[in-house]
């Protein structure tokens, strides 16, 4: 069954079999692991320099359980992945990404329609806002998740929206997280969490298009 973002605009449900789920999970995990150095470099500029390493540790633990995750129905797989991230990342991004995946899995039916995905994404983003006591405009992952989710809801490519939204965090001033300690000096650097969110969204879109 097809699952690309364009194919998902009709109301019919999307079914990912175990092989497609495996491709999806593996693509996302490897994308983050492959970009760990870049994420660390971004975090060294405005944070404490551990984002790449932390995300790599988290997604390596996801890969370690890849077979078990892929066998689960999508909502359960998302919840299990979220819990792995919570337990293994070892920084604030653990609870933030863990909450994103767990809340998304909690709201998503096993064979979601486009509307189901939009609703689940909205609920997951709300959960991340609550976890981080944050909102858009504060130079965080939310500055990518929200516009990407809105693009998807409107039938546009969420990966392109995510990429330009991550770029748009460069001139922003950090209000939340470690980068906020820098105040105006956080201006001029891309937010590492925005970048990792854009990487994840791009990987999801690519993996789903591969399974078409």
């Amino acid at each position: 069954m097809t699952a690309g973002p364009r194919e998902m605009q009709d109301a019919s449900a999307v079914v990912l079999d175990a092989a497609a789920r495996r491709t999806l999970i593996e693509t996302v995990a490897r994308r983050i692991i492959d970009h760990a150095d870049e994420l660390t470099a971004l975090d060294q500029a405005i944070g404490d320099g551990d984002h790449g390493l932390n995300m790599k540790r988290g997604f390596e633990s996801v890969l370690a359980d890849l077979g078990a995750h892929a066998e689960k129905p999508l909502p359960d797989a998302l919840k299990a992945i979220g819990m792995s991230l919570v337990m293994k990342i070892g920084g604030a991004s653990g609870p933030l990404y863990g909450t994103l995946f767990m809340a998304f899995g909690k709201e998503l039916p096993a064979e979601p329609s486009h509307g189901d995905v939009v609703r689940a994404a909205t609920a997951a983003i709300a959960a991340v806002k609550a976890r981080g006591k944050s909102d858009v405009g504060q130079k965080t992952m939310l500055d990518v998740l929200v516009p990407a989710s809105e693009a998807f809801a409107g039938g546009k490519d969420p990966a392109a929206a995510a990429e330009s939204a991550a770029e748009a965090t460069i001139p922003m001033k950090a209000i939340r997280g470690r980068a906020s300690f820098l105040g105006d000096r956080s201006i001029g650097h891309m937010d590492p969490g925005a970048r990792s969110s854009a990487l994840i969204i791009a990987a999801i879109v690519e993996a789903l298009e591969q399974t078409v």
């Binding site: 293994k88 990342i89 920084g91 604030a92 609870p95």
Partner: protein, 130 residues
Amino acid sequence: MNRNVGIVIVSHSVDVARGTAEMVRQMVGDEVPLAFCGGNPDGGLGTNVESIMSAIDTAWSDRGVAILVDLGGAETNSEMAIELQPQERQGLIVVCNAPIVEGAVMAATEASGGASLDEVKRTAEELSPA
């Protein structure tokens, strides 16, 4: 032992957490259930939910547990650890918005006198700028 509120110290550095716990033990004594943790799952700087959950278990008291944290990730991970606790513990664990070392000593001092969880938290938070 669990007639007093318990104290958990969560730092990015296990050395800071251990040192803070030593200060509490020396200045306040053994009347308060106390646990500390620090470091990411690989032992580097950071905090992790699993070790916070086990510290909560160690310091558990039916009167509740107050957690003292250093920087952002310690707070977020502590809140996550609280949510993952069994239902009957919900509402009995709080994160204090206070400096970690001074807050831990003040909170433990208050707890050692049999104060409630609310009183312990309030005393620690008196140290925070308004």
